[in-house]
Amino acid sequence: MKDIAVVSFAQSDCRRDAGACNEVELIMPVIEQALQEVGLRNSQDVDFTCSGSCDYQQGAAFAFVMGVDALGAVPPIKESHVEMDAAWALYESMLKITMGQAESALIYGFGKSSPGELPTVLSQQLDPYYLAPLWVDSVSLAALQARVLLDRGIISEQDMAAVVSRSRANAKANNPHAQLAGDVSVEELLAEAEWVAPLRKHDCCPISDGASAMVIATVERARSWGRPFAVIKGIDHRMESHNIGARDLARSASTELAAEKAGVANGAVEVAELYAPFSHQEIILSRALGLDDSTEINPSGGVLAGNLMMASGLSRIGEVARHIMNGDIRRGVAHATSGPCLQHNLVAVLEAA
């Protein structure tokens, strides 16, 4: 695969309710910022544009088409969309570049979850015969998974709280866009009441509105722009059965396989940004990726500090790319997820040029 470079990345604040903004107003500032960092004007200046979003979140049919109003798509551009996290829009854009049909691409994701009740909306992405009619929500399914880990002694409640404590501290130190940030101890967290036991509210990512955007290009094109960039050295995504009962919920077999195919183990992982919407899932993921104490996990605070549903996966990749573009690190790993209990996972390895 030819090397592809991440050239710029921008993300909005994570806000519980961006009610005063429609999708165009959410998207426009991050697209403008991502393009301006490279000196580009609008989507006319890239070869391909691809977005990720889900209309069910806000209950607005074709909201993703409305989003095109933020692009400057006159005259018409080459454009595509995935009804998924924008990390998969990045994947599609990489295929487009790899096939030689584009040398640069603008990718963006947006989520406006505040109009609906997100865990309930997500219940309707489940099996429509066996699960959706029960309205099993996404938090409850994650709680079933957490108990599997607790019952088997793989993790403790202290381990889960430690993930949350570190997320909040990292968000306070490093992430101006975080929704939840601050100093809170494991003891304070464990003193809170259970919500969907064994999960406490803080074990679950907040619900956030916002958007993120990224510009990628061939390494040759990136060099011509004269800006620092990060190279995507490997990317892979794998999916597991929709049947929750048929999966080993204590591990993430799909992440393990994607990590192997993406080449995670081919070098030191200095930073990993993992899309773990629930505290126990960060532990599952770091084990699946073979990470140890030498890796700084979720320096941004991860999505426990703010979850832009349909943009958070792209943001994980953007966060790692930014560390490399800033010269802080030379190699990092980003992860995106989709579906209940980490059903579908994407792993990307990024390196300095």
Partner: protein, 176 residues
């Protein structure tokens, strides 16, 4: 559903109802606040070369991808850019078919919106036709496009196709 043991189930009804709270967004809120006052107002970005005035605006100059910052008051008169005759009744809609749904460009705007036409002979509705808004009584005005009941034909010369979307707020006097 039958309790007959022999009948094999081949389909099930799986209705899904989801509750939402729609919020209008900044541009749409500004537009609806003016509609509430009985005025059609578009938006544009003065710096854009295209100069497009959008109605209802969604916050961006769609041609350029940048925020619309200036409001532009529009007239009640408009031009038919396209139309269709609807023969299918819509549940809960008091309008009985056949009726006209049209793409209309108000004077002073460049982009059309969709509204109804009435008080017209359906067979003689045509592209380029001049129309005007028929508003509900003021006491019924709300934050809604149906403050305008419909548009009705005007006795004015047609706008040639190449001029549709370019008629100024001052109106159309016919070919100069």
């Amino acid at each position: 559903m039958s309790e007959d043991a022999g009948e094999h189930i081949t389909a099930i009804e799986t209705p899904v109802y989801l509750k939402y709270n729609f919020t209008a967004g900044q541009a749409t809120t500004r537009f609806l606040q003016q509609v509430r006052q009985g005025k059609l107002v578009g938006q544009r970005r003065p710096e854009c070369d295209c100069g497009n005035v959008y109605v209802p605006a969604r916050g961006s100059c769609a041609a350029c991808g940048l925020p619309t910052t200036e409001e532009v008051e529009l007239g009640d008169k408009a031009t038919v850019q396209s139309f269709t005759i609807v023969w299918i009744p819509i549940p809960n809609n008091p309008i009985q078919p056949p009726y006209i749904v049209a793409n209309l460009v108000p004077d002073g705007a460049n982009i059309s919106f969709i509204h109804l036409m009435s008080e017209c002979d359906n067979d003689s509705v045509h592209i380029g036709q001049r129309v005007e808004a028929v508003w509900k009584p003021e006491e019924e005005w709300d934050y809604a496009m149906d403050n305008i009941r419909y548009f009705r034909p005007l006795d004015e010369p047609d706008v040639p196709i190449e001029m549709i979307g370019k008629v100024p707020l001052a109106g159309w006097e016919g070919e100069a």
